[in-house]
């Protein structure tokens, strides 16, 4: 299946193709604008939002700074509660562990909760190679899986599909995976959801093995937390006899109390709800309730390399809320697929090149997939300074420098054959031929001027060696024109 991102063209090429897909763009614009507005309302309800955001940042920073200690504490707590902990240095090892665990149960199929860690390592493909079928049970993931497609958004992976497309996929594909779509299925969301319910319920009821990720792991207590809406998560976490959770090591938080911060900031940032419909928390195994065997696979796969970068490590604070995607003018037009990774949008642009290195064209071009407008930083509930990391990574790509790969310090050569320059210039051309994206960026650019270097780092360096990069004005011309009614009203001074 085409569910992996191997062989993706570099971002500018992929984005170029995507912006010419009118359906995709319309689907995305509708979705991101809706969710953006709702999020702002949900956040405005909490008068202490800034303090919660700062606490979330500090908790994550403290954890990362002491990650070895907290991982050891987590391991003992999970073990004491009846779970088994496995450590996986990379994707292959994680896949081997999970495949082995499933095989040991004698089962040939597993039900899965939507999890980006398992997508990142290509677990479904690895299981398939071992003769095990993995059923995605999140509605959007089901749409992606049936459509032999790739996810395009962290939270709503099928956001690029409209209802008509979904109906067509259900009608033609459901029968190949199990219970066929009901006769005469229309494209109303309620009917489509019902079709998914019937299709998946037979899988839930017979499932013996569940596979999940987790949103948080509490070191102090060994508790894992999964946040969801549909109940498919609860099904996978509680009905099977064996539960296997694959979780990135950065998902650790020190104490139970820390959940009071993230359970307030995550739902409001992601689905713009006061609270998501379901949150499951479990600590090891419980007699008579839920799986009898629980395995936790702690995944590195580039995370420790990311941790080694003093500027870039803040990306590991990410709680995958997807707020940054929904405000990003580049994401809105290019769509999630253009990022060539399971992590699209602004967070993908800084996370993927760190997890995977910048060896491929797509990874080398990702730090340029941004207008540096700063909107992502403003909405991020753990205050990740995405523009700062983007600029830092551009410099890495273009100038080279020390990086850590697979735990070893290596010195990166400057991008070969001006590949990065080309990538940057193509990205710039793309932005310039899509003025809407730039306008949206400019509104915020004035507030983020500190991110704008006076010399271009990296590929643009040669160009700015003899020229000053024009500074971003405090206010764009368009905004000034609007504010002053074409200069007829007081036009003195720019807004800050």
């Amino acid at each position: 299946m085409s569910g992996t991102f191997v062989g993706m063209p570099a971002f500018p090429k992929a984005a170029h193709d995507a912006v010419h897909n009118a359906t995709l763009r319309a689907n995305l614009r509708h979705a991101t604008t809706t969710i953006r507005r709702k999020r702002a309302d949900a956040v405005a309800e909490l008068s202490d939002w800034a303090a919660l955001r700062e606490a979330g940042k500090q908790i994550k920073d403290h954890t990362l700074r002491n990650l070895d200690r907290y991982l050891e504490q987590l391991e003992s707590a999970v073990t004491a509660a009846g779970g088994t902990v496995h450590w996986a240095a990379d994707a292959d090892e994680a896949n081997r562990i999970v495949t082995g665990l499933v095989k040991a149960t004698g089962e040939k199929e597993v039900v899965k909760v939507k999890s980006m860690a398992t997508q990142e390592i290509g677990l479904n493909e690895a299981l398939e190679a071992a003769g095990i079928r993995a059923y995605e049970t999140d509605l959007a993931e089901l749409i992606v899986q049936l459509g032999d497609d790739r996810p395009s958004h962290i939270l709503v992976p099928a956001i690029h599909r409209n209802r008509g497309e979904i109906r067509d996929i259900f009608r033609s594909e459901m029968m190949r995976w199990g219970r066929p779509a009901p006769d005469g299925l229309t494209d109303t969301p309620a009917e489509l959801a019902e079709a998914a319910r019937l299709h998946l319920r037979e899988k839930f009821l017979r499932a013996k093995v569940g596979v999940s990720g987790a949103n948080f792991m509490v070191a102090e207590t060994g508790t894992l937390v999964v946040v969801e809406s549909e109940g498919n998560g609860r099904m996978c976490l509680t009905l099977p006899e064996t539960l296997i959770s694959v979780v990135g090591i950065e998902k650790t938080v020190p104490t139970w109390r820390d959940m009071e911060v993230f359970l307030q900031t995550l739902p409001r940032s992601s689905t713009a709800e006061r609270m998501n419909p379901y949150t499951s928390m479990w600590t090891g195994t419980t007699d008579g309730d839920g799986p009898r065997a629980f395995h936790l696979v702690l995944l590195d796969n580039g995370r420790t390399d990311t941790l080694a970068d003093a500027v870039g490590r803040q990306a590991l604070r990410c709680i995958r809320c997807s707020a940054c995607l929904n405000v990003c003018p580049v994401y809105e037009r290019a769509g999630g697929h253009a990022y060539g990774s399971v992590y699209p949008g602004p967070i993908g642009a800084i996370l993927s090149p760190q997890l995977r290195g910048t060896g491929s064209d797509i990874d080398a071009s990702l730090p340029y997939a941004s207008t540096l407008c700063g909107a992502c930083y403003e909405v991020c509930p753990v205050a990740i300074d995405i523009p700062e990391v983007l600029v830092h990574l551009r410099e890495r790509v273009a100038q080279g420098g020390p990086v850590t790969r697979a735990g070893t310090k290596v010195v990166l050569k400057p991008a070969r054959g001006h590949a990065a320059e080309r990538a940057a210039m193509r990205a710039a051309r793309w932005a310039l031929t899509h003025p809407g994206a730039v306008r949206a960026g400019q509104r915020l650019a004035a507030r983020t001027r500190r991110f704008h270097p006076s010399r271009l780092p990296g590929p643009g360096k040669a160009w700015t060696a003899t020229r000053e990069l024009p500074t971003v004005p405090r206010e764009s011309f368009g905004a000034w024109w609007k504010r002053t009614d074409g200069g007829t009203r007081d036009g003195k001074g720019g807004s800050r």
Binding site: H30, A31, E45, D48, A51, L52, E54, A55, Q58, H62, L67, D68, L71, A81, W87, E93, L139, V156, I159, N162, R163, I166, P189, L192, A193, A196, R197, R201, L205, R206, S229, E230, G231, N232, R234, M235, T238, L239, I249, R257, M259, E260, L263, R274, M275, N276, P277, Y278, T279, S280, W282, T283, D289, G290, T304, D305, L307, A308, T404, G407
Partner: protein
């Protein structure tokens, strides 16, 4: 070297640029955020719970302890429930008026058995007003996690004001992480199709919350 040692070694290596002796956890995090948002009387907190539950499409009812058994029976028959799942430790006087067949949850019942039940009745551990959330912790009146998941109709009884807190921080204080916990805010929902909210994909499509004032019938003698 084991992968465990490899990963822990890489973590230590990665952090080598940072000064030793970082602040202890207690000092590392400033908790200047609020314990609850706004000031409310007890009755206002209960009203906010009802409002937020309803906002997320749970159906909310209120009654006194004396009316409780009658109300539960009425809610079940209004839905035409013929079978109702009950956790082992559900107080028996809650069900005195119920005519539907009672199916006690048992370790032997399979997921298929649960799928045949029309409704389920449980208590809860705590309810959070600001978010419209009820939390189940597997206590005797709540049973195993699966019984509130597979049937399509869940009636949850919340004793007010005793089981109601204002906020998420206050709820976490009351809960024991060693128990399996399920936080429920409204019925199962998805927004995966063009961000249109649809209730009920996999979990119960119908969540009814019964806010019961004062003590349950047996002790409601005032």
């Amino acid at each position: 070297m084991s992968s465990r040692d490899l990963i822990l070694g890489r973590v230590r290596h990665a952090l080598a640029d940072l000064a030793a002796d970082p602040a202890p956890y207690a000092q590392a995090v400033e908790r200047t955020y609020l314990r609850e948002h706004g000031e409310r009387t007890v009755e206002q907190t209960v009203a906010l719970l009802a409002e937020n539950l309803a906002d997320y499409r749970a159906v909310v009812h209120r009654c006194t302890g004396r009316q409780m058994a009658g109300t539960l029976a009425r809610l079940l028959s209004a839905r035409g429930a013929r079978t109702v799942l009950v956790p082992a430790g559900l107080p028996s006087d809650w069900l005195t008026d119920v005519t539907a067949d009672r199916v006690p949850d048992s370790l032997l019942s399979t997921a298929y058995d649960l799928d045949r039940a029309d409704s389920v009745i449980t208590g809860c551990a705590v309810a959070v007003a600001e978010t419209g959330t009820i939390v189940l912790d597997g206590g005797p009146d709540q049973g195993r996690r699966r019984i509130t998941l597979v049937p399509d109709h869940h009636i949850c009884v919340v004793r007010v004001p005793g089981q109601v807190v204002s906020s998420v921080p206050q709820a976490l204080e009351r809960l024991d992480p060693a128990r399996p916990l399920t936080w429920i805010s409204g019925p199962s929902a998805t927004s995966d199709i063009e961000l249109d909210r649809v209730e009920g994909v996999h979990g119960p499509r119908n969540l009814e919350v019964l806010l019961v004032d004062g003590q349950p019938a047996a002790t409601d003698e005032s």
